[in-house]
């Protein structure tokens, strides 16, 4: 049976990790490759790197760090931020990433998903969606790092993205992000009921119970978090033992 993936997410700005300054156990926490190796050696099931400044500044993912990280780790590795062309896919995959995630650019040009999927295979095309709850109770797609509301329905966009060829979805709740009050179970459940590709929950982790809750209730395939891991609030090994005791399949 497939294990639920526990995925630390690292935000990189100008080749340095933004979150993670209080990280224990390793010396230079700002280095993406040092943090990547730390997680790879400590039971993370996958790593996600976002070059968070890339999209907003219209700049390309700084490829240099992708290779440095890929050389250090031996778990799957997903990279996003500023990806807008097939050439970007090619460059990032060639530097050693296994998956490339698209967000804002796919909203502007949905065919990018289709073309990338046909060329590189659905398994390496990840559609990342930032969703915000609207007054009418639906969720809307937000782009450019949380700055622009597109008015698109997030659940519909998720379904459309899979039809176009996305092999995985990362669903980030803007409302839950950073609140540490748990993942957006409603949003995630709606999406997992409608698509047949892996769905990764993002945004809202504060304590171990939140991981259990989203795994159990929303049927997600992976659970992504940033600060709780980077600041050492939750240890991945402890988390996995906890989940296993609760009957969730995890890789120990």
């Amino acid at each position: 049976m497939l294990a639920k993936r526990i995925i630390p997410c690292l935000d990189v700005r100008k080749g340095r990790v933004v979150k993670g300054k209080k990280f224990k156990d390793i010396v230079d926490v700002d280095q993406p490759e040092a943090l990547g190796k730390f997680y790879s050696d400590n039971n993370a099931d996958e790593l996600v790197f976002y070059d968070i400044t890339a999209s907003n500044e219209g700049r390309k993912t700084s490829l240099e760090f992708v290779k440095r990280v890929a050389d250090e780790i031996n778990i799957p590795f997903s990279v996003g931020g500023g990806v807008s062309t097939l050439e970007d896919f090619n460059d990032i995959l060639r530097k050693g990433a296994d998956k490339v995630s698209v967000n804002s650019s796919a909203v502007k040009n949905p065919l990018l998903i289709k073309e990338a999927s046909e060329k590189y295979g659905a398994q390496c095309v990840v559609l990342s969606i930032d969703a915000k709850k609207d007054k009418d109770g639906t969720w809307k797609v937000i782009i450019n790092g949380g700055r622009k509301n597109t008015g698109l329905d997030a659940v519909e966009w998720a379904v459309k993205g899979v039809e176009l060829g996305a092999g995985e979805l990362v669903i980030n709740s803007i409302d839950a992000d950073g609140m540490k009050e748990g993942y957006d179970i409603d949003l995630l459940s709606q999406i997992t009921q409608k698509v047949r590709v892996p769905v990764i929950a993002s945004g809202g982790a504060g304590k171990m119970e939140h991981f259990y809750e989203v795994a159990e209730k929303a049927d997600v395939d992976g659970i992504l978090a940033a600060s709780v891991f980077h600041y050492g609030e939750i240890n991945i090994n402890d988390l996995k033992k906890y989940l296993k005791n609760k009957g969730i399949e995890v890789r120990i």
Partner: protein, 200 residues
């Protein structure tokens, strides 16, 4: 010299890094002389079966690989590389493979999500030096939509995904790994380490 065959598909760098970590030097090459003079071959691959076999043919590598392996040279096929070892694949049509291992490649026809993507646990079916450093229940990382149907006696280890998915196969000097050992953390590392000792 151990040659990672470069036919234009897949991330060869991570496979090479994986072997480097266990102390096995490899050369990435599509050169016929390199392949002929090699001590062992590694056939990686990500993508479509048809494209892969076509590229191997176009680069005149198909016959040479078959010839070398039939002479007794070790080969390790990884992911699509393992599937290429079989006689046939039914991925979007019907295509001949290298025919080094009996059986064929078929699409998952199951209720679970396809591709089979993520960490799944291995069940060890048969004693074999390649599983020397791993144990029943260890997790490995898979990404694939098609799987091998071949002889039971060739299956060393498998995973359950509604159907029985051969994870590691072996027939004489031929090994195939459906998952990605280079992406499977310590377990993958230990499999590559065992393979290094096999071909030594």
């Amino acid at each position: 010299m151990n040659v990672i065959i470069d036919y234009g598909l897949g991330n060869l760098n991570s496979v090479q890094k994986g072997f480097e970590r266990v102390g096995l030097e490899t050369k990435i090459s599509s050169d016929i002389h390199d392949i002929k003079n090699s001590d062992s071959l590694i056939l990686p691959g990500v993508g479509a079966f048809r494209d892969a076999i076509k590229l191997l043919e176009e680069k005149n590598l198909k016959d040479i690989i078959i010839e070398e392996v039939k002479k007794g040279k070790s080969i390790l096929g990884i992911c699509l590389g393992m599937q290429l070892l079989y006689e046939k694949s039914f991925e979007n049509g019907e295509y001949d493979g290298l025919g080094l291992v009996e059986g064929y490649i078929k699409k998952f026809d199951i209720s679970l999500k396809v591709p089979h993507m993520g960490w799944n646990d291995l069940k060890i079916q048969k004693e074999n030096p390649i599983v020397r450093y791993i144990k029943e229940g260890d997790y490995v990382y898979y990404v694939h939509s098609y799987y091998a149907k071949g002889r039971e006696e060739d299956v060393v280890a498998y995973s359950e995904y509604e159907v029985k998915v051969p994870g590691i196969i072996n027939k004489d000097n031929i090994y195939g790994i459906q998952f990605h050992p280079e992406k499977s953390g310590n377990v993958g590392h230990n499999i590559l380490k065992a393979y290094k000792e096999i071909i030594r």
